[in-house]
Symmetry: T
Subunit: 152 residues, 12 copies
């Protein structure tokens, strides 16, 4: 049963209260319920962590390594633009990382500095981006396990 950490980056805690033209009206709490439900359906242990401080996200990821998490799902949100320290952290950590964005960041001319550290990116599908990102991460973990089995 895979154990996944979901980090919600800067400003995500305020979801549903700001810029609904971009992010819709679902609140952070409602989104948590959605993602928790999707995790349960897929037999995944999920922990959700919100922070507005980049260094706290880094701290959380290092703790996750010790706690045996299998993968990281993250919407970097406000950290997307200049989160270089966070990027270095993820590149160094062995935790597979899938990046999600609710909006099509490319259309808004936003460049994620974290993308180079990701297995892949899902962007533009509102709350559904989280469900697809979860599926993508599970697929990555499954392929890794398969590759390991083959080596054994």
């Amino acid at each position: 049963m895979p154990k996944i950490l979901l980090i919600q980056g800067a400003n995500m805690v305020h979801l549903g209260k700001r810029e609904p033209q971009f992010y819709g009206t679902t609140t952070a709490r409602e989104l948590d319920a959605l993602v928790t439900g999707w995790a349960r359906e897929r037999g995944v242990t999920l922990e959700i962590y919100y922070t507005n401080v980049e260094g706290e996200a880094i701290n959380r990821i290092y703790r996750a390594l010790d706690e045996g998490f299998d993968g990281l799902l993250m919407n970097p949100a406000g950290f997307t633009h200049a989160g270089y320290a966070l990027r270095d952290c993820i590149k160094g950590a062995a935790l597979p990382y899938v990046e999600v964005h609710m909006t099509n960041v490319e259309k808004r001319e936003i460049k994620s500095v974290l993308g180079v550290a990701a297995e892949g990116v899902v962007a533009g599908f509102g709350t559904t981006s989280y469900r697809l990102g979860l599926d993508a991460l599970l697929d990555v973990l499954e392929r890794r396990r398969a590759a390991l089995r083959q080596l054994a």
Copy 2:
């Protein structure tokens, strides 16, 4: 029952024969079988179109408008770098478009000129990118139908 066009851009027909370090060993034919299977499971009518000629992709999209297709899934592949005419075509057409890439293009420092015309992007998960892209496109279509019902 939604009707979806999948366009495989320049060089995709040769999948599995070139650069396996990036694209794996699945052939175009095997990928077709996979995607067709996923479409069938989801009750989707899917047509797959391969071309190495950008203008033929444009021609195919305009025909799709007349034939009542509901959405476009595309891996622009070789058209990713300079497919401006294709981008204009998609921006002009009313067909919702989801872009997929087998590799994490950002990691390889490739910038898609087509991304600004997409609802969203899924990149980096090998053949699974197509399954997630299909799910994403269905979600987009469902939300559009829901919005229309509300207006009625």
Copy 3:
């Protein structure tokens, strides 16, 4: 009686069906009728050629050289952004070329790579751009004939 080739570049065949805020609601067929009428009034033999494939436009231009055409009118449309091969073709061909755009491309921050190969450019006046472009091309041809007469 001058013989003129009008090339309608990528996406023009779909005129009137896409982005009416930019291009109005006149369809390609209606535009053909307009331009044909203007040509008839001016005693011009006009052939209209639509294509979404850049190389087909190049082929058409080389054929036009053999068929004795006197000038080229073109709305490069989708080829505007990256039509370098088409530009090389026109620079090499002896056919005087007038470029037309229905919209003021400069206002939309679009840079035509073909402009350097043109006698001149008319942009921003909707379907009227074609009428003015035709007049401009006829003027260019007339001045060339006058210059030749003077040499004789």
Copy 4:
């Protein structure tokens, strides 16, 4: 009977005396006669204003607003490169503006900072650029009147 202001920007007063390889040998006076003739044929009241001082062009445009002019035709000439104040003036004024250049400025790698404030641009056809620009401006005015009639 439309009332149009033609502004000839910096250095135009010296036409025919400088750089004939670009601008031909027609003098400013001869060009005035040509344009005045074209205006008369089209039933247009035309006033021609020459200036080498950008701010005087701005002053003239504001006066034109008070005097009931319907449109502005301008060859910015020497103001093309850095006429930002003039551009702001035109953007602010309600007077439809058509920009003309005798040469194909794009071929000479000249970028007009005023183009974004224009309805459209005609460039590259020598003195004929003025005739085409006049036709283009009349067409713009006619379409505006038609739109107003429809609203009434």
Copy 5:
């Protein structure tokens, strides 16, 4: 006996008819005779393929892989500026590629996007560029065979 495909890119079919100051007066037909002669002298099976459509060049290369060609000689010509899809095709294909240009492209400030996919480049020697390119490609093939023999 090595089997080599020579692709003549966009606008090459018109050789000898356009821009003689750059390309001389040899026609495409005459060049074919020259290159065919050089191939015969060197015991090479040569097929020459002209196209103005980038995607057709890609199609031809994939067919060449199936037909057992040993190497690709190409003058990308009009594809030089933006032939990214063609570049991806060559990078993916196992066919050794030598690029030739009749002119010294660097002197004309032209940057080939295809160069990174080539074994090497010969540019600037008119029709002789083809003879040198052929020799270069044969040398590449010979060295590969030698390396293989050493492994065996």
Copy 6:
């Protein structure tokens, strides 16, 4: 009686102790007294918050939304250069924001990434920048109230 939050960004707590050639010798404590006095004179409830951690500034702003603050005055100081997450926070929050700088940042070639989220900016007048910024913010709030009254 308007309620205003003043955020003093990174390094401001050390005011008066660092770079007096730029910032003078007034200490943070003395500045607090000044600003508090100006607030009292204007009948404003003011809370001053110092932080060197960008995420804490974000946290404080979200709390301010819940606590019924009417406006935000901020000297981003060290956050000026790369405070993208803070900028996203302010853009999303409904709190009117006025930005102040003690120095003329433009003269020192510093570009604020936060400026695009502000109603306006006051820069270059030492501690007086705060007094002017306060007046500016009160003016913004008054105009908003007036606009609302008009709608009612």
Copy 7:
């Protein structure tokens, strides 16, 4: 009693008649009354000078030096983009300069070339920018006088 020159740069004379979405509906005349009133309340002798010609603004500033003015308040408006000669003039003149803009120029991606010559900048508060700019300039003058008294 300080003597201050207010220069209203290119296009300001037309205030209230152009682009009300940016500049509101207050006319130049009404603004004059406002600013004159604020000057009177603060015991300031104020002269207002409008010009659309950059060189005339320069002339006015040099005259102001001879006439004993103490400071310069200016909304460069149309001179903001390329007023380099004006900037050199201000840098050379000993007159303290405060720059005001009615709009938040940064939000509109406008860069003032004059900002480096200013004591400070006030931007974004409509007509209130003038009142704040006046207060800022008086504060600058007061601090200078205080510094001089200390030296004496």
Copy 8:
């Protein structure tokens, strides 16, 4: 006896009163006396013209053409940065132009847009730059006369 026009560009009239660290303490009047003396010694008819308005400089140059001037000496000063219209004027006029600067503009990272229209440039020697520039211009004129004599 050669007839030379000396134009002193924007802000030069204020020489000796501004930025003595760059321009010394010689006033415009004193400089006039110096240059007039040098002209007299060399048998040159010299007229000095000061202006802060770029368009007036253009007007003066066109008048000079009619008045039979042989050459133009100019310190563009404030027009150095963006005097494109002035540059176009000089390029068009047949008057040989020598550019002078009192300071080494390159050291101050100033790029003259007028330099491309000059025979040559003398920069960095204070008032001596004018004497050297005068000598340089006389030399240019002498060489031209010699070349004409040879043709006759």
Copy 9:
């Protein structure tokens, strides 16, 4: 006996566990022992502070000023890319700062935004960078003391 603060920036706490190809296998704890040993040998009081939060590093530096520290040694690590607030802090603080990196950052195309605030930089020698950095900082402090003695 000099008192030195060593700050280990973002991700350093995880040393030895991430990217051993760059950073080797020495852990943070082992590095602490090494550096502490070197400090003891040199008679230096050393305090080591790890943090992943940029603002906490700033807080620590301001505290160090109050606690009488003589110098700052820092490996900015994850703060290297965008630690502008930290840079402003160091520039403002009077504490001499020596920057160390375990890898040759230049070779990895990493640009430190903090370098401009340092006395000097030591990069590329693994854990030895710390020993050299300590020696460098002691040398800086010694030279300062010598200079002060000379003044006294």
Copy 10:
């Protein structure tokens, strides 16, 4: 019997001892033997000159002009990146120049500043680049002689 100078630029003397993954294991001495042999087969007088000093290469070229050399073959090697003085020398000299590189410099993202001074370039074929470059240079010389004969 043509007389050709071969210049081997900076670092070439060390061939075969450095970076064999790029340059193979042939030593400078062995390469000399190869090239000398090719020259003898083609009836060419060849002189080979090695230098690590750019100015010595320039000196050698000027001497070659006096000694009646017919052409220059050069591998600029270390001078490729910034050999501007050498480039100016070749552009000024009448000696036809063919540039050779053992590696495909474009693939390694190296831009030759000397290419603009060459007749043409051969790059990427190891030691064979010299043989092809020699053939190319002979062809250039032959065509020049033919052109001269035609004029006579």
Copy 11:
């Protein structure tokens, strides 16, 4: 007993006579004595080589390879900005290279093109940079020997 070559690049021979604000008053001769002393203390055979000619530095390095030197210490000085040939030489040579600068080059906005070829860099500590650079190079050599012993 390691054998180390110290190269002092362009202008270093004049140390102590130029720009003391950057480089202090120690002369080249005094520095030689310092460095020779440090080398003796550490049991190192040191040879110091001064040159203002980049190619001579290259020549010296190749000779050093033949003479059995173990490492290279260099202050590239004037070669820092454009010493590409020297950089290629060092990259090709097997000699470990440590780069030293007396000043913090980053603070002076100087970018070393040689840094990418170095093991590491020490910059900013005056003559002490040499002592630290020597220690760094000895550490590099020691680690290499240790690695070799482990393999044996």
Copy 12:
């Protein structure tokens, strides 16, 4: 009697033999005679030094310092583009430097990296540039002596 060193940079020794369209037909020897004559007329001891090696120019300048030269006149020629080491040398040396170019380098889009180290620049007047440069340098020396006398 001032003592002046004239350095003729890379390629100048070949003057009169290369690119007469730029540099005329005067040979280096003839130019020497001209400049020597001008020096004699002005009572100047002049030494002329030609070199194609940048480092030799640096060596010559350092020797000149020891030999009591008063000033440096130089045409950097081929060193103009990348002579950074030479620039550092001149910046460090106390010798006043005047830069001369025979052509108007700005017109040819050549940027001198040495200009920032010069008192001033004279460019564009053929051999006359040297005479004017000599006059300029004498003027600089005279002004320095005058300033010294005033201090005494």
